[in-house]
Structure formats: structure tokens, C-alpha cells
């Protein structure tokens, strides 16, 4: 199977030169990739242009946060308001979902509450799935097709996929969930980037036996520091995840901001169009300078060039951080430039790189 996944962030090994590999796979980095990039490239005089994430650079703007949200333990009513706003946003029942402090917490939690067995991950994809299922004692394989994965006890599909944007049709996923449910299995669909492809989501089908959907709040809404994510599934799955995460798992400000943001239908619709246009614009820019766009979502684009390793270093020395992949040395993933200055720095850096070198 080879290396079919990658970790957070790709540069973790730079930041942790002496760390031993974790049992489940690559070393984790408790922070962003910028720390590691600075250790390698130094701090750029003009500051970093961080294109290494898939986080919307134009965040939803929180209003005033209530004193209660900061000062009191998050209460049942605030949790309920968030659950209802999220349910409307996902088109699901409030009883079929629960909130967590980030989707990473759920990527860790689901393997811990599922009976140990064979877990097949549709790769190449985000490495945290394999790492967390292995750490929880499961036997993990990474497969190249849904057919090859379908025989396992649990199947993990990131849809749309990170980093290549591969899409699996909802009907195929629902059919697989049904087959898995019939033998006590589970399909986990990581929809971390599905906010920009709502037609691809199976979140509205949450409650279907055998289906677990994970959603990220911070990526599309541009509020990754808030730590908010959701799991959707049967009442039993939701109850067991709530039990595992325990009381007061989500901070008060996250409950309040999430409730308001997910109800902001105008911002959501406009942002989808805005991100789609920015993604097309990014494609045009990087293709003008000789890279081939081979996939992605409207929150990031995946480019291919035989000179990816050299280009990564060239961009890094110009203070521009993109995502590279140890197992895919000719790939680079680009996030969206937050403003005209960042766009021009990227353009100039691409222009000054001799692709023929």
C-alpha cells in the first residue's frame, strides 16, 4: 500500500527532530506549520504568507461575546441552541448530532468508542485517521478504492478528499453504510471541507444506521482557533461520543459564535461563491507559471510539478508557506491568498522560480 496518508503538518519532522515516532504513525505537531517553517527558513521580514492550510482566509466576524459565555460553565441551553443551528445548517435532526472542541477531537474519539477490528481508509488522505485508529488498537489498511475498502469493519472516507479533492457520490456512501450496518460496521465520512460542496454531503442522512459524519466548523468559517466540530450519526453513536467527551467539552464562546455563524445564510451563500472564485483565480495563477492543478476543493488547490521539492524551498525562502507531502514529492497544496499583497508575493515568487532548472 505504501505511504497513502500525510500528517499535521507536513513539516512536523522539522520541528521535532529528536522526537520518537508515535506508535500510530507520524509525529504530531501541537501547533501550526509556521513554527517549523521559521526554524527552517527564518522569519521573513515581510511576515509569512501562510498558504499551508485549508482555512478560509476571510473569516466570519464574531460580534460581541456575552460575559456569560466567558465566565460561566457552558450550559445545556447554549448547547441546545448550537445543536439546533447546526442541525438547520446540515439539514439534519438536532438529535442526530453533537458538538466537540474541533473535529480533531472527534477523529480521536470515534476510534476509542468503536469495537476493535479492521479499519480501511480510502487513501491517499489526511494521516490523522490512520494514526488515531492505530493508536486505539485497530488494524488499519489504506486502500485505493471504495470497493477494496468495503470489506472492513469500519471504512473511513474523506469527502471531498484532502488533499486531492476526490469526490465520492453520496448514494455510494449511503449504500456502503447500509452494508456495513448490516454486519455491525461503521462508515465514517470526514466532511471537513464539504461546506463548499454541500451537494456532496451525507450529513442530512445522519441517523442512518452505520453512518457517522464528521464536520469541521473552523475551516469554512475561518475560525480554526475556536475549536469547534460536529459528529452526526445515530442517537446511540451521538450519546456514546458525548459520554466520551464529557461535560462542558465545548467552550462558551464557541457555542455562541457557532450558533450565530451557522444561521448566517447570507454570509454562507456569498462565501461559497467568493471561495469558488478565489479557487479559480488561484488555479489560473499557478498554471500560468507552469504547474498543473490536479485537484482540490474551493478551500485549497493541489498542484503537481516534478520540481515541487525545489519550489517548496524557493517559496519558503520568500516567506510563502505551502503544504508538501513526503510520500507525494511532486505535489504541493496551495491555500487561498488572503489579500492582494499576498497574491502578488505568490505571483512574484512563482515568476522568479525557474521551472526549467
Amino acid at each position: 500500500m505504501g505511504e497513502q496518508s500525510y500528517g499535521p503538518p507536513a513539516s512536523a519532522s522539522i520541528a521535532n527532530p529528536a522526537a520518537e515516532p508515535a506508535p500510530g504513525g507520524p509525529v504530531r505537531d501541537h501547533g501550526g506549520a509556521l513554527d517549523a517553517a521559521e526554524a527552517r527558513f527564518g522569519r521573513p521580514a515581510e511576515g509569512w504568507v501562510d498558504l499551508s492550510t485549508g482555512i478560509n482566509p476571510w473569516p466570519w466576524q464574531p460580534g460581541e461575546i456575552s460575559a456569560d459565555a466567558w465566565n460561566r460553565l457552558p450550559d445545556r441551553a447554549a448547547n441546545g441552541r448550537l445543536r439546533h443551528a447546526a442541525a438547520r445548517y446540515f439539514g439534519a435532526s438536532p438529535d442526530a448530532l453533537m458538538a466537540a472542541p474541533g473535529s480533531q477531537a472527534l477523529i480521536q474519539a470515534v476510534p476509542r468508542i468503536v469495537r476493535r477490528g479492521h479499519v480501511a481508509i480510502l487513501g491517499f488522505t489526511y494521516a490523522e485517521h490512520a494514526r488515531c485508529w492505530r493508536l486505539a488498537g485497530h488494524r488499519v489498511t489504506v486502500e485505493e478504492s471504495l470497493e477494496a475498502a468495503a470489506g472492513a469493519d469500519c471504512v473511513i472516507v474523506t469527502n471531498p478528499n484532502n488533499p486531492d479533492g476526490r469526490q465520492v457520490e453520496p448514494a455510494r456512501l449511503l449504500e456502503l453504510a447500509g452494508r456495513l450496518a448490516a454486519r455491525g460496521g461503521l462508515l465514517v465520512v470526514d466532511e471537513a471541507f464539504a461546506d463548499v460542496t454541500p451537494d456532496l454531503s451525507v450529513a442530512a442522512q445522519a441517523g442512518t444506521p452505520g453512518l457517522c459524519v464528521l464536520r469541521s466548523f473552523g475551516k469554512f468559517f475561518g475560525l480554526a482557533g475556536l475549536r469547534l466540530g460536529f459528529a452526526l450519526g445515530t442517537g446511540e453513536l451521538v450519546r456514546r461520543l458525548e459520554e466520551h467527551l464529557g461535560p462542558w467539552a465545548v467552550a462558551g464562546p464557541a457555542l455562541e459564535i457557532g450558533t450565530a455563524a451557522m444561521a448566517d445564510a447570507g454570509w454562507i451563500a456569498a462565501t461559497r461563491v467568493h471561495l469558488a472564485n478565489a479557487a479559480r483565480d488561484l488555479d489560473a495563477l499557478i498554471e500560468c507559471y507552469g504547474l498543473t492543478v490536479i485537484g482540490g476543493t474551493d478551500l485549497f488547490r493541489l498542484a503537481q510539478t516534478p520540481q515541487a521539492v525545489a519550489l517548496y524551498g524557493h517559496l519558503g525562502r520568500q516567506g510563502i508557506l505551502v503544504r508538501s507531502f513526503d510520500a507525494k514529492p511532486d505535489w504541493l497544496r496551495f491555500g487561498l491568498s488572503p489579500d492582494a499583497a499576498a497574491w502578488e508575493r505568490l505571483r512574484a515568487a512563482l515568476a522568479s522560480f525557474n521551472l526549467a532548472a
Copy 2:
């Protein structure tokens, strides 16, 4: 041993009348006690005076939070700044501590990373300890003395204790940690309320084999909604807890606010005196109306009266919520009144309750 612990909150059974008991003990409530109180007493016209918690009603005031804290994944540098500020505040080494999204997350995590065995809890105390150790598969007993507990594989001591304020001398704890370490055991000291009794803390001794200290940020700093807590211990324990909680566990705003608040030595010193005076003032008030103060900390006071059950209901009908204990029917725990209006409402409600009835 009987009922030697209580749960969050005491009124959970009101809010969850149909819920089945969780395997580890009492049903949990994913929120504050006010929801449950409202279901029982209705919503008071003047709003609730919530004296049911041990949270400082005069919170540290966060300044402007950086956009990065909201928008970006919390990075290694922000984590490092918090660790250093916390280390100075606790008098410990930065390498001997880790941050978590609330001390509840740590009360859940520690039992999950410790080899299963016999766990003895010094009771009567906060029920989450027993519940979480049982849920993780340990054999749990609740003991009335440190001597009776000392033979277990793990010993759990809340110091100062909640709700009665019982104090165990640091020297006795360190001696016990040494004995436990010699046979591969662990002493967990929950110092959730130790900010008001710093001389009682063993946090500065973190790194000592066999010792794990849990600290809450939100109670003393009045920011319970932020979700921030700390575990202190050996490098190995800290590493395993970080591994269990995974990357980006603490939200960006919590990292930033925690760093600033724990470095605010003036506020910390003044607040300790302010809380001590408020606690003495609360003692005087409730003793004037015939209750006996039998313990507590400067963040809450524990009172005894044979009429506690009736008084709890009387106060609830006046819109004043205190903490009651199913297993200790003659106890009531009072938090500090946030302002003069709340103090007067409590005074008037105590005055209108006929203690001789």
C-alpha cells in the same frame, strides 16, 4: 462506604428524569444547574442569583483577543507562551505541565492512560473522579482517610476538598506520592480550588515520581466558559496526556487569555484577599440566620442545617440557586454573591425562611 461523592450538578436528576444511570455513577448534565433549576422553580422575574458554583464572580477581564487566536490553528509558540506563564504561576518547570480544554478533560483523560487497578478516592468529594475512573475500567473505592486509601494503586485527593474544604498537608501528599511511585502507582491531587490556598499546593513539586496535579483555570480567574486547565507531573505523564488529548486541544483565545491572566500578579494577589474577605462576609451572613458553616474554601462555603432540604427549595423559589447533596441532606454549599443586589436577595431570602419551622 456509602455515598461519598456528588456529581455535576447536584440537580442533574431533575433535568434528566428519564435518563438511565451511566455505568460509572450519577447521570451527567452537559450544562449548568440553572437549566434544571428553571425546570423545577420556573424562571425568576428578577433573574437567577446563581450561588451553585465555586467560580469567582469577579472574573479577570480579557483584553482584545488577536485575530490569529480566533482564525488560525493554535500554534506551538502560543502553547509555549501559555506553558511558561503557567509554570511561573505554579512555581513549576514548563516541562512538567500541559494545558487542556478544562480540568474536566483531564479528570477524564488520566484514568484512560493509567494501567487498570484499584483506585482509592478520598471522599466525600466531587463525583466525577469516581465516575471517570470507573468508566475507564478501574476498581474504585471511596475512603474516609488517607491511610485507608494509601494501599491502592492510585489515590485521588482533592485539596482543598470540594465541598467541605478539608486540607491535606503537602508533606503528607509528597510522602504518599513517593510510596506510590515505588510500586508503580500514582497520586492524583485535584487542586481545582488551590489558587486561594497556594501554600497547600504541591504543583511546584511536579516532576516528582508518582505525583500528578490537576489545576483549573476557570474557577479562580472566573472564566469557566473558556475551558482551560492543566496537568502537572513527570515528563512521561505529561507526554502521554498530550498524546491522548491530541493536537490543537486548547482554543486560541484560551491560550492567549490564560497567558495574560496568569502573569497578572497584581490581580492575583488582590483577588485572593478580595475572595477571602467575601468568604468571611458570606459566613457571617449565613450564620446570622442560623446555619452553621462547617467548611469550604474562599470560593464557596459549606453550611449545615437540619432544614437544608426545605431551605434549598425556599431559596430556589426566590430565584437563588445553591448546591445541595443527595447523600448529605443537611448540607448546602453557597458560592459568593456577585454584587450588593445578590447579597441582599440572599439575606432577605434567609430572613424570610423560618428556620424553626
